[in-house]
Every structure is written in C-alpha cells, then in structure tokens.
C-alpha cells in the first residue's frame, strides 16, 4: 500500500515548501474534480496531497485599484458566479467557467484547476486567453507572472516548473465599450467536453473595433491565441467581410485531431462558425456598456 500524506497549509510559503520537497509525487488539490478521478482510476498515485483551499489568496476575489480583477486559483465556479461585479465586467469568462461540469462540480471546480489540468478542451481557458488574463505563479525561486496562453504545454502538461504553484489570475481593467463572450460546441445541451470552444473579447469606439483577442480551444494540443483573427477585427466596424476574415483565420489556426467527439474537418469549420457568433455576442455586450 502506498503511503499518502495530506497537508492543508494556511500560507503559500508553507505550501510551496512542502510541494517542492515532495517532488513529482506531490499533487495540488483545489476542487479535486480532476485529481480525485485520476486517483480513483489509478492514473495518479500521489505521495503528498497539498490542499490549497485554506490559503487566503487562493480563495479571494478582488477588484484591483485600476479596475481589473484578481481571482484566486482555487475559487470555485459557483463562488465566482455569486460575485456581484465580476460577471457584469467579464460575462464571457464567467459563462466559460460556469460551463465546467454540473452544479455539483461547479461547487468545487476552479479556473486554476481547469488550466493546470492541461486539457486542450478546458472551457475556461479560451475565455481567459481572450480576456488577456495573466497568472501569478509562485515557486521555490520566487514569484513570476505569465499570460494564460503560455501555461499549457500540451495535453496534460503545463509550463510550471517543479515546485511551482498557480496562485491567481489577474484580469485587466476594461475600457467602456468592451464585451466578451465564450461559446462551445457540444452535441448535448450541457455536461459535455467541448468539441470546439471560442472566446472573444473586444472593445468598440464609435462602432469601430479598437481592440480584440480571440482564444480557441479543443482544436490543437493547447488552447490557441489567434492573433490573425484579432487583426482582422481590429480597425473594422465588425462588418461581414471583417468577421468572415477573422473566421477564416480561426479555421486556419486549427490543428485538431479526429476523435469520437469530432473530425478534423468538422472542428476546423465549427471554429469559424463559433468565432462569428461569439463576436456578435461580445459586440452586443460592448454596445450595452
């Protein structure tokens, strides 16, 4: 029988010391909705489980002085949904986080776990990439920040170094006239894994798109930031030609696999369709600000 230890430190320093000392046998426990399934199936047999939910900064939602947000990595989707302001400023990010699993899973699952699980189909990731969110990472050698898009390294892998823990997301402040949206294609109405996911965040000034970011999920080994699609939108009035060019750029960026959820051809086409629809929703929200 393997010896498993459980720790629930109350400070980040304590967590990092224990996590780094235990090496590759250690696992971080946030909501546990991936980890416990992996333990149950025998994919993962941790020697140490570090529960990070007793660390204040992991569980906090703060509005920063410049009007941005700082979201603790272990904040559950249900808690994020109850925040009075977050969903009004970042409705697309919230809808993406709230698409992860059932109500039961929402009660525990976090955006930090969704990102660190490293699935190319994680729903919150394309929306956070579109939002221009950064993550704060702390490890034995100190603290560093990186864009969300740089965290995934491939299916099930991240660019976090040994001993490093994802602490929080920072989302930038929003100029007025901004909106975001996330759409995913699944064959059911709920409780499924994205065949394609698309996040769009944009700003409008006098009807002209002044800033845009596009994130695509489940169409490559990692979630993609599609800069060509953003370029097609910026400077336009989001007219049909511009949106079509952005949709084409999304399809061109796809490097998907064929699997039981969808074929390469299907995913590539749907990426463009979702972009078109997500732009329309984000633009409507931007106009409503």
């Amino acid at each position: 029988m393997t010896d498993v230890r459980y720790l629930a430190p109350t400070t980040l320093d304590e967590a990092i010391r224990a996590y780094a000392a235990a090496g590759s046998a250690a696992r971080i426990l946030a909501g546990g909705t991936d980890l416990l399934v992996q333990m149950r199936s025998g994919v993962v047999q941790p020697g140490l489980i570090v529960d990070i939910k007793k660390i204040d900064e992991m569980m906090a939602i703060e509005e920063t002085a410049d009007g941005g947000f700082r979201i603790g990595a272990a904040v559950s989707g249900a808690v994020l949904a109850e925040h009075p302001r977050f969903g009004r400023v970042w409705p697309g990010v919230l809808e993406a986080v709230n698409l992860i699993g059932s109500k039961q899973v929402q009660g525990r699952a976090s955006a930090g776990g969704n990102l660190c699980n490293g699935s190319p189909a994680g729903d919150s990731v394309p929306a956070l990439v579109a939002a221009g969110a950064n993550v704060m990472i702390q490890g034995p050698e100190g603290c560093r920040e990186m864009p969300v898009a740089k965290v995934p390294a491939g299916p099930g892998r991240t660019n976090l170094k040994p001993g490093e823990i994802l602490v929080s997301f920072t989302l930038p402040s929003r100029p007025s006239g901004s909106g975001d949206a996330y759409l995913r294609m699944i064959p059911r109405t709920e409780m499924d894994i994205a065949v394609v996911g698309c996040g769009v965040s944009l700003s409008l000034e006098g009807g002209v798109c002044t800033a845009a970011r596009v994130g695509l999920g489940a169409v490559a080994p990692t979630v993609l930031l599609v800069e060509e699609a953003a370029k097609a939108l910026i400077g336009s009035k989001l007219d049909d030609a511009a949106v079509r060019a952005a949709a084409t750029a999304c399809s061109a960026a796809c490097r998907p696999i064929d699997d039981k959820r969808g074929t390469i051809v299907y995913r590539t086409k749907v990426a463009g369709v979702l972009l078109t629809r997500a732009v329309a929703i984000a633009a409507r929200r931007a106009g409503g600000n």
């Binding site: 029988m1 010896d3 498993v4 230890r5 459980y6 629930a8 426990l29 909501g31 546990g32 909705t33 416990l36 399934v37 333990m39 149950r40 199936s41 941790p46 489980i49 529960d51 939910k53 559950s76 249900a78 699993g101 059932s102 109500k103 039961q104 899973v105 009660g107 525990r108 109405t189 709920e190 409780m191």
Partner: protein, 160 residues
C-alpha cells in the same frame, strides 16, 4: 500508517471520525459513519448519486476527500426529514412516483433542495439544467422534474 482525525458537523450534529488521507467523503459517510443514503454510482462526479452539501454548497461526495470536511458543515439526505416528517420534496417524490429503483433519488433530493434554497420559483428549464448532473436510468426525468416543480409550489405556499 496513522489515520487522520476529523471533527465536523453532519446534519447539524457534531461528528468525529478517522479516515485515510485518500478516502473520499463518500467512503467515510457510507463506511464508518453508516450514512448509506448517499449512493455510489460512477465515482467520477458524473452521476450525482452521492450529492451532499458542504457549507450549504452542492457537491459530489465522491469528488471530495473525507479529511476536507474538517470544521465544515456537511448535509446529507439523512438530514432532510425533520422530526420524523418527510421534507415536502420527499413527500412529493413519493406521491408523484418520481422514483423507481431509488439509486439516484437521494442525490436528486439533495440537489433539488439546494436549488429551491437558491431559487424558490424555478422554471422547468432551470430545474432540468440544475439536475443535469444527476443521472436517472429509470424514470426518464419527467416525473422528477414535475415533482420538484410541485414541491417548489408547495414550499412557496408554506412560506407565505
């Protein structure tokens, strides 16, 4: 290997138990605690048969470690009937035949109660979406959804 000692509150009563670090809450409930109302279906968070509340928040007890209950408030199906009287949801499920084999029923009830606490007047669509994480292989869901809507209406009358 030393077991972990947990002090928690289950259905309003202080409870202590010992568990292994990798035991799930469902293991603890159904094992040492003898609270077998929570059922084990999939053990992967898909079926909702093990639904409980943790500090009033709906969760799957199969996706939670037993040791995580330390200092928290756990609510299970065993706490739903008060003083020998069935909760209106339980009564309505019985009267409207919203169950057959019963394996999903405690999870359905715990999840429905969590919904009605948050939203006393849900639409049919809201009930269906809320219960998307509770699988039933017998009834086809329709009777369950109707029973939840009926119980919600009754509970609103009781409150008024």
């Amino acid at each position: 290997m030393a077991k972990l000692h947990v002090s928690t509150t289950i259905n309003g009563e202080p409870v202590e138990y010992l568990c292994e670090p990798n035991d799930t809450m469902l293991d603890a409930l159904r094992g040492p605690l003898g609270l077998t109302g929570s059922k084990e279906g999939c053990s992967s968070g898909d079926c909702g048969a093990c639904s409980i509340t943790l500090d009033d928040r709906l969760v799957c007890s199969c996706l939670m470690l037993a040791v995580e209950a330390e200092g928290r408030q756990v609510g299970t199906i065993e706490g739903m009937a008060k003083g020998g009287k069935l909760h209106p949801l339980q009564q309505t499920f019985l009267e409207m035949a919203a169950l057959q084999c019963g394996i999903c029923t405690s999870g359905m009830l715990v999840a429905s109660e969590a919904l009605l606490r948050k939203n006393p007047k849900p639409s049919e669509e809201e009930v269906r979406f809320w219960l998307a994480g509770n699988l039933c292989r017998c009834t086809g869901y329709d009777k369950i959804v109707r029973a939840v809507l009926e119980a919600a209406a009754e509970l609103r009358e009781t409150v008024q």
